[in-house]
């Protein structure tokens, strides 16, 4: 049974948390995440969940408390945005290094400076190599669905890794949309009972977390750690398959939209993918063979699968809602380029930066990119590899 409601993205994810009822949540408020934890805090104070909610003094403490609680043997969740995620940075690596299945929605927001509360992806991109799995979500439904699946993925005995669920600040977190809720029982059954692995609270069997390992074996430990990520796509797909059985909604490593017979294409994350799909429909009606790829599992990045899905195109634009200020390209572009670099046949690639600090991404921006790709596909000529779009003149 499902219930159809009109709610904000934050409300939907808070409801998923209520249905899952983690043992421990440690959180600190930050816009635009605040509404999520504020709603969840009401579930706690109303007695609707038995979760131990720890109100801490910073995000560094929030993640530290989550790490402690997860190592102790509990199912643990938190949430954050922007500077909050940045402040967690050093502890993120500890959570993943300890293989703790913590789930953390990241409500994407720009980083300071200048200070800005609106959406872009610089926060999560800054943590992309922290060893956390990242699932990205186009809308409130996907944020809700990904949150539920995230617990199963994180807790899978083959991987045991922390998961971030990313969705766009304000655009999704604070907008009301129609979504389908499951009955509580369905979610509880899907997520299942938490199975701790090497819990510290099992005092009959004492163990250590976070030992010192120097030149003798650190290298080997990290190699072993990197091997774990090879199993992630398989687990993500397995969980998606089970999820489809209860929801009818299909999830994969990424979404392909009109890509198979396409000549030109766009790669784009989160809410802007929806706007782009509507514009693609308009162009398809005019006979233009354009398609889209929307990554869902961004970390670990499914290089082989994404490369194979894009290699037949003539021209491809990767749209980044974050810049990497290293004199190179946006972070998503770098990964897409890496996924294609070893194919003989591959599209001409361009990178466009859009929507920083909440700048609206409008249908005409998508149309502008499609027009440019048509020209590139026809002439083989590229005016500039990387450019900001939607800039006020």
């Amino acid at each position: 049974m499902t219930k159809i409601v009109a709610v904000t993205g934050n409300e939907a994810v808070a409801n998923a948390f209520r249905q899952i009822e983690p043992d421990v949540c440690a959180a600190y408020p930050i816009t635009p995440q605040t509404e999520l934890m504020q709603r969840f805090a009401s579930f706690v104070s109303n007695g609707q969940v038995k979760t131990e909610l720890i109100l801490v003094e910073s995000e560094h403490s929030a993640m530290s408390a989550c790490i402690g609680a997860a190592a102790a043997g509990g199912r643990v969740a938190t949430a954050t945005s922007s500077q909050g995620l940045a402040l967690m940075w050093e502890t993120l690596f500890i959570a993943s290094g300890f293989r703790l299945p913590i789930v953390m929605p990241v409500v994407n927001r720009a980083l300071s400076s200048p200070i800005n509360i609106h959406c872009d992806h610089s926060d999560a991109m800054g943590a992309r190599d922290s060893g956390w799995i990242q699932l990205w979500s186009e809308n409130a439904q996907e944020a809700y669905d990904n949150t539920i699946q995230a617990f199963r993925i994180a807790e899978d005995m083959d991987i045991r890794l922390p998961v971030m669920v990313c969705y766009d600040g304000f655009i999704i977190s604070h907008s009301i949309e129609r979504i389908e809720y499951f009955d509580d029982e369905i979610v509880k059954k899907f997520v299942g009972e938490y199975k701790p692995l090497y819990p510290l609270l099992d005092i009959e069997n004492p163990k250590s977390f976070g030992p010192l390992i120097l030149t003798d074996l650190y290298h080997e430990v990290r190699k072993a750690h990197s091997e774990v990520y090879k199993n992630v796509p398989k687990v993500v797909l397995k969980v998606a398959k089970d999820f489809e059985k209860i929801s009818g909604r299909k999830y994969g490593l990424f979404e392909s939209y009109m890509l198979e017979d396409a000549e030109i294409g766009i790669v784009i994350l989160n809410s802007a993918a929806g706007t782009t799909k509507d514009v693609i429909d308009d162009y398809r009606n005019k006979g233009v063979k354009v398609g889209l790829l929307k990554p869902r599992l961004f970390r670990p990045f499914p290089y082989a699968e994404i490369g194979n899905a894009l290699k037949h195109l003539k021209a491809l634009c990767v749209l980044d809602r974050a810049d990497a200020f290293g004199g190179s390209f946006g972070p998503l572009y770098l990964d897409v380029a890496a996924s294609l670099c070893n194919f003989d046949q591959k599209p001409i690639l361009i990178n466009r930066i859009y929507g920083l600090g909440g700048r609206d991404y409008m249908p005409e921006h998508a149309a502008g990119v499609i027009e440019e790709l048509r020209k590139i596909a026809k002439t083989g000529k590229v005016k500039s590899l990387k450019e900001y779009i939607g800039v006020r003149e």
Binding site: V5, A6, H118, I171, I172, S175, E177, R178, G274, D278
Partner: protein, 190 residues
């Protein structure tokens, strides 16, 4: 009806965002897809703000402001003096204005195209009559409901009850329900 896009013009503190939410919630019936979202600027009482609705029989994938509205709702009549509420409106757009002025005067002031329709309701007066405060959002929801005909009045009233029920006294809720009804009944085409 495939898709209706609504743009609301109001001022912070007038309940415009709540009105857009209530309307979206009411439109859920009949298996529709809905969106309601404000334009997030600095949130100050009295500052001009916009809010949007999309209502569609198909999945709504577009996640950006409405720039070519089918319906424009002006909650605060003083905004007409300072901003162009007609910007981007479709040639057959419907304008619903909270005003005590004559429709002919408003039509001239807004420079509406002959193909665009104008609806006027004195929502501030209705609000003061019904619950003693100049909060025009409830009558505007009623008027919008009448003009778009997307859902029946009963469904909207149920949603207002649900949305206001958590925060307000029975007296305020009853006043708002009456205000929605009167907005629905008193809106006039001109």
């Amino acid at each position: 009806m495939e898709k209706v896009e609504v743009r609301w013009h109001g001022r912070g503190g007038q309940g415009t965002v709540t009105a857009a939410k209530v309307f979206a919630d009411a439109c859920l019936s009949g298996g529709r897809y809905v969106q309601a979202f404000p334009e997030y600027g600095p949130e100050r009482a009295g500052a001009p703000l916009r809010a949007y609705n999309r209502i569609s029989s198909k999945e709504l994938r577009m996640h950006c402001p409405v720039t070519t509205p089918d319906v424009v709702v002006v909650v605060d009549p003083t905004l007409i003096e300072s901003i162009d509420v007609t910007e981007g409106a479709k040639d057959d757009a419907k304008f619903i204005i909270n005003s005590s002025k004559e429709p002919a005067e408003l039509r001239k002031k807004l420079k509406l195209k002959p193909t665009q329709k104008l609806y006027v309701v004195d929502a501030t007066k209705i609000a003061i009559d019904c619950f003693g405060r100049p909060m025009p959002n409830s009558p505007m929801v009623g008027a919008l409901n009448r003009v778009t005909g997307l859902v029946d009045l009963e469904t909207v009233l149920e949603d207002v009850k649900k949305s206001f029920g958590k925060k307000f006294s029975q007296k305020i809720i009853d006043g708002n329900l009456l205000a929605v009804k009167r907005g629905y009944e008193e809106v006039k085409e001109g």
